[in-house]
């Protein structure tokens, strides 16, 4: 039986977009060095929950947050917290691949550079290491100076993964990382995530239950902004305690 040690602790998290109450009193722990899947029908707050974990929701105008999110015991919503430091620790890969308007090399090197890494040799090593970690190195090592936009969608998404790894995060958040990709590229990303969980805590959002079954160690089910159920994947998928969960898993809705 796995033991789950909490890496991120979400306590009574409420998120409002203007008057709209998007997340209601979410309290749950994210286990360390495991893959946690946030599942649920579209539009129910999964992405909002995910983006709360590195405060990317701050970017949305008119957002209000109450509650706590503790990363390694520290509430990231405290006043005086260095947001850029949080985002270094908790990285995010978006649904649509979003390469920066630069070369492949510069994309991966961007993270370290903005945190003041300057040594050329160190950067070279980091870039190579991260590209290898996502299985992209052999494909792009001759094309490092080319604009990242020339890569295929699958390659771009892996590039975004490599880019996120370059700042040495502790947590990787993935927002439906394969939904914009073809099945083969999607599988590649999934394989990478399975390998990466040895060193990183991974949280991903998906609306494809089969993907959650394939990858998740821990499952969080969000419906209409509420935390309906959470637990080890094995338990939630075979013996869900909440009728809503059961209905969702059986494909009644969503």
């Amino acid at each position: 039986m796995d033991t789950f040690k909490p890496h991120i602790s979400i306590q009574k998290l409420n998120v409002f977009y203007e008057q709209h109450h998007v997340l209601k009193d979410i309290t749950v722990d994210i286990p360390e060095k495991r893959i946690t899947a946030i599942i649920g029908p579209s539009g129910c707050g999964k992405t909002t929950l995910l983006k709360s974990l590195n405060r990317l929701i701050d970017l949305i105008e008119g957002v209000k947050v109450s509650g706590k999110v503790l990363v390694n015991g520290v509430n990231i919503f405290d006043n005086g917290i260095d947001i850029t430091d949080i985002r270094k620790k908790v990285g995010l890969i978006a649904q649509m691949p979003n390469p920066l308007p630069m070369s492949v090399y510069d994309n991966v090197a961007y993270g370290p550079r903005i945190h003041w890494a300057k040594d050329r040799r160190e950067l070279d090593q980091t870039v190579e290491h991260c590209l290898q970690a996502v299985g992209l190195w052999s494909e792009v090592k001759e094309r490092l100076k080319e604009p990242a936009s020339r890569l295929s969608a699958g390659q771009q998404q892996r590039l975004c993964l490599a880019r996120a790894l370059a700042v040495k995060p502790e947590v990787l958040l993935c927002d439906e990382p394969t939904s914009a990709l073809d099945p083969i590229s999607g599988r590649q990303i999934e394989t990478q995530l399975l390998t990466l969980k040895r060193d990183y805590t991974i949280v991903f959002v998906t609306h494809v239950l089969r993907q959650a079954r394939r990858l998740a160690d821990y499952v969080i089910f969000v419906y209409l902004g509420e935390l309906v159920e959470h637990g080890p994947a094995q338990t939630v998928f075979t013996q869900p305690s909440d009728p809503r969960t059961r209905a969702y898993i059986e494909g009644v809705f969503g």
Binding site: T84, R87, N98, P101, Y110, G111, I114, R163, A164
Partner: protein, 280 residues
């Protein structure tokens, strides 16, 4: 079809102005006209050099002042300002753009010229009337602000959110995101805005005319007066017909303005078009 009108007009303008310019071009080659400094129409001497330099100096000063201020303001409006402030300032910019040229000139005479004469010139160690390149440049810069700011701001806002999000997700500060990501994507558009601003500044007549001194000598310092091409035409059209070749010379000046604006407009518009198409 009425739609042919604009192209037709441009063609006719270019044609008629060049036609009327040919007499003077027949007396001297263009390069000589451009580099001679003596402007004595009565004696048949038409050296354009002072006016070309005057235009370049004034426009140059205006752009040096306008570019940094406009871009910084545009970044602020697009990236930092809360929507209420942005909503308040944008109409103000439209207002600024709508103020008639002579009113700017009036203001220049009332405020800028004395400012230079009594405060700035002594600081720079020179004595000046205040009617100077600097005055023209300052007034012109303010006239050009709304143009550069509005185009640049639009270009910044057109940069897709996802790219910004990617930068923030890696832990960049807002300024780092602007500097490395937004600017990179927006640069062609901002350059186009600057080119259009330059084009506008180049041809502005009345406001500059009222504060720049109108002395037909190439300026050698900021405090010197100047005589830009548009002012040349505006001040002397009355004598055009009474002195031989004068009309041709002035219309050549008009033709030069037309061609410069033409080239700049085409370059700027084509690059803006390419940007629009790429982001679709």
């Amino acid at each position: 079809m009425a739609a042919v009108f604009p192209s037709l007009v441009l063609f006719i303008m270019a044609f008629s102005l060049s036609q009327r310019s040919t007499p003077i071009l027949a007396t001297q080659p263009l390069s000589e006209l451009f580099f001679t400094s003596s402007w004595r129409p009565m004696k048949g001497e038409f050296g354009f050099y002072p006016f070309i330099m005057g235009t370049l100096w004034v426009t140059g000063v205006a752009m040096i002042l306008a570019i940094p201020i406009s871009i910084l303001c545009a970044i602020y409006l697009a990236e930092y300002a809360p929507s209420r402030i942005r909503g308040a300032i944008k109409p103000l910019l439209d207002l600024l753009a709508g103020i008639p040229s002579v009113v700017y000139g009036l203001w220049g005479v009332l405020l800028v010229v004395p400012l230079i004469r009594y405060y700035i010139a002594p600081l720079l160690g020179g004595a000046a009337t205040g009617y100077s390149v600097l005055a023209g440049g300052m007034v012109l810069a303010i006239m050009v602000f709304p143009l550069i700011i509005s185009i640049s701001e639009e270009v910044f806002r057109a940069v897709p959110f996802e790219v910004r999000e990617a930068s923030f997700a890696l832990g960049a500060t807002k300024w780092q995101t602007v500097k490395h990501v937004v600017m990179r994507k927006a640069l062609p558009g901002v350059v186009a805005a600057i080119i259009l601003g330059f084009s506008r500044a180049f041809g502005e007549t009345m406001a500059v005319l009222m504060v720049v001194g109108n002395v037909a000598r190439a300026p050698s310092s900021l405090l010197d007066p100047a005589y830009p091409l548009p002012a040349l035409i505006a001040n002397n059209y009355g004598e055009m017909m009474s002195i031989p070749l004068y009309d041709s010379a002035l219309l050549l000046a008009a033709l030069i303005l037309l061609l410069v604006v033409f080239v700049f407009s085409v370059v700027a518009r084509l690059s803006l078009l390419r940007i629009e198409r790429r982001s679709v």
